[in-house]
Amino acid sequence: MARLTPILIALVGFLTVCPVIMLLFGSFSQGLGAFGTFTLAKYIQAYTDPALVDILLNTVVFTVGSALVATALALFMAYLNTRTNIPFKTLFQIISIVPMMIPHILFAVSWAILLNPSNGLINLFLKQLLGLQQSPFNIYSLWGMILVEGLLDLPVAYLIIAPAMSSFDVSLEESSKVCGSSQFRTLTRITLPVLRPAILASMTLVAIRSIESFAVPSTLGMPGRIYLLSTHIYRVIATGFAADYGMAAAVGMSALSASITLIILYRYLTRESEKYVTISSRGYRPALIDLRRAKVPLFLSVALLSFVLIVVPVLVLLYSSLVPYTMVPSLKAFTMMSWKHWVAIAKDPISLLALKNSLFLGIAGAGLGVVLTLFIAYTIVKVRTAASGILESLSFLSFSFPGIVIGVGFMWFFVRTPLYSTIWALLIGYLATYLPYGIRPLTSAFVQIHRDLEESSRVFGAGTLYTLRRIIIPLLVPGIVAAWILMATMFIRELSVSVVLSRPGTEVMAVQILRFAEDGLWGKLSALGIVMILISTTLTALATAAGAKWTKVQKVQAG
């Protein structure tokens, strides 16, 4: 296995470093055809653009804003869940997991369908109701983007804040109360400062996700002519007369350096956090705060939040896939419902091709990704040499790379190879961007397999292969299933790498949805979106069932 390490490092190194190097060289080149001839022209062109000031400002406001929104909401929810007697606590578990299943582009688009200024459902409804001339809301604005991105990243923030909140040593608070502080004062003077590392870590991680984000800026920002770094890169390569990959690379370097800085900051913060957040092993359950009269309103606000996060997007898409054109729900709307858009999708050759490609990338791509991450995780956990440390750092670093920037970097590479404009180019791009998502569940699965479990099997007469089949793989199955589900759902919905690498013939679902959004074809978009959600859920259910069955078969066969 140790012999495998150099091969793995080469592979992961290629996946992570290749796009970065190509991006760097590309940014100093004249164009895709003239790679290697040094020029500063692209940097000058990119960074003297007067529009760039606004773009950078927008990016900063968007990133900081969504980090604040997501973290504040996560704090509020985690506090309610771990420290108060709010009812139906399973709701919190649902909120922290389920929204990850809804593709970002669909979530963003459903809000566009509700709140766009020309025919947003809520706007139409309010205009009719109040007799307004103008739409009261405009989601195509910076605050709209911040709100939607903040909601999308809420699960990420919650998964960082909630464990810190529940491992928080309550005696710190109790001593403050003994000293006569009020509940509120204790919250602001003790609880929040002690949780500071977790709060900062959450904000950093959400900020990384916002810089990477392409779904929200493209569906909500571009219609209102609000550009961020990611959409600016997209504009440079995908619109206008000639795609300028040199300038895209030059701009991409800023996004990449910002992300890398933030991920290093994140790693630093999470290492520090172990010093601050005191984990009490005494097993005292903190006394739950009785919310009294605030109980019902607070619960309703959480219920509303989960409704908005999970139910609204799906309902909106379902509704608008069935009505012939955008109209406020009414009796008339229901009588006019038809399968028109579904039939149109089923007859649209590009949508069908996109469906086929996404399915292939999701199923086979995630399969390949799991095999690769299985070896990487094994090396990181079990081999434990200096080389496996490099592997860990490499895969961790690539966690921060914005998809669209990786796409541009790979573009510079692929045009030089026969892979250009094939589905394999997309597959390689996906693997490079989402490898860390697979590595995480598998490393924790490997950590659980103590050396003794392997060794005892050998002592009792089992050879290497028998041990692998009866002991190691069954213990890994839950991790493998989790990694496969994560990667498959990510690949099915993938947008930001695809918008760069997808060419005619290699369309994928998310890109097709973006095209529909750009053309305002809400009906077709919604139908395709529902298909996408159905595929993700079906794959998740199948993988879970297969995992459960595999473990069961193992048990029955053994008995």
Binding site: H450, D452, S456, V459, F460, G461, R470, I471, L475, A558
Partner: protein, 362 residues
Amino acid sequence: MEIRIRDLDKYYFSEGKKIPALSNVQLTIPANRIFTLLGPSGCGKTTLLRCIVGLETPDSGEITIGDTIVWSKEKNTFVPPEKRGLSMVFQTYAIWPHMTVFDNVAYPLQVRKEPKEEIKRKVEKTLRFVQLEGFENRPATKLSGGQQQRVALARALAPEPKVILFDEPLSNLDAKLREETRKELRGFLTKLKITAVYVTHDRIEALSLSDDIAVMRAGQIVEIGTPKSIYFDSEQQFVADFIGRANLIPGKVASAKSGSAVIDTPMGPMACHKRIESSPGKEVTVCVRPEFIQVVRGQGEKGPNHFTGKVESLVFVGDAYEGEIRVGETRLITRIEPTANIREGDDVLLRIDPSQCSVLLR
């Protein structure tokens, strides 16, 4: 089956330095006895066990189990662990968490592709033997520590091995359970005709469980003997000190006759009747166990091996007091019965039976 170990060396490399884990180990473990490797942590006892079972490869020497050479440097022989036909109980138990109790115990038999009915019969028999009937279909992780330990033992016994190895199997149990399990284990092992090699750092465990004990120190075996001979008749200061509470008094041989020696110690001359093959003038250590020092209140009559001292401290340890008594500059640990009516600060007379005083080489 007998296990013979000859000229065994094993090195570790740490930060470029070569550290010996085992050096020149010579050992014969007799068949069908409970043989314990005892020593402080880091003495190489677990490494030796892992070499026997085949999970580590030594750097030189030879290991023979029964009539089979399982490892030999010269003959370039290495039999992998799965082909050695041994059983082992791990310190962590190494119970497979994804299997039931039945599957865990059946595993060694399934590996050998025994018929299903045969497996079922043997597993049931073994589980009955370790008093775990009715637990077959429990997930192995849902058991208590003591029960998991018995599953590990059942799994080791199920294939009816000739040799079974134990790597500190009781160290994860609490004190009371450890004591009970120790007795049970001794019962199980003496009922079966089986060679048991047992690794522990716990001297009480070693003394109460073993037929033979090999004491190890820094990668070497320093003494082999029965529990009694190790405890009472050890040749070496390290062993005497490690195996039980001991007073070690430095001295010089004054005179030696057959059956008796007088040693000059800081407390005065001491007559010793055990292990006295020392020549006059030689620096030695006198070893006396606390339970063989008789403590009497007051001054009392003078006599051979009678010393006067003062009680420095008295600690109640449950079944007796542990008294620290100062004789001149020497401090002795003694065992004082709760009925003896002795208090701190009392002047006492110590009587030490010469037949319980050993002369140890330094």
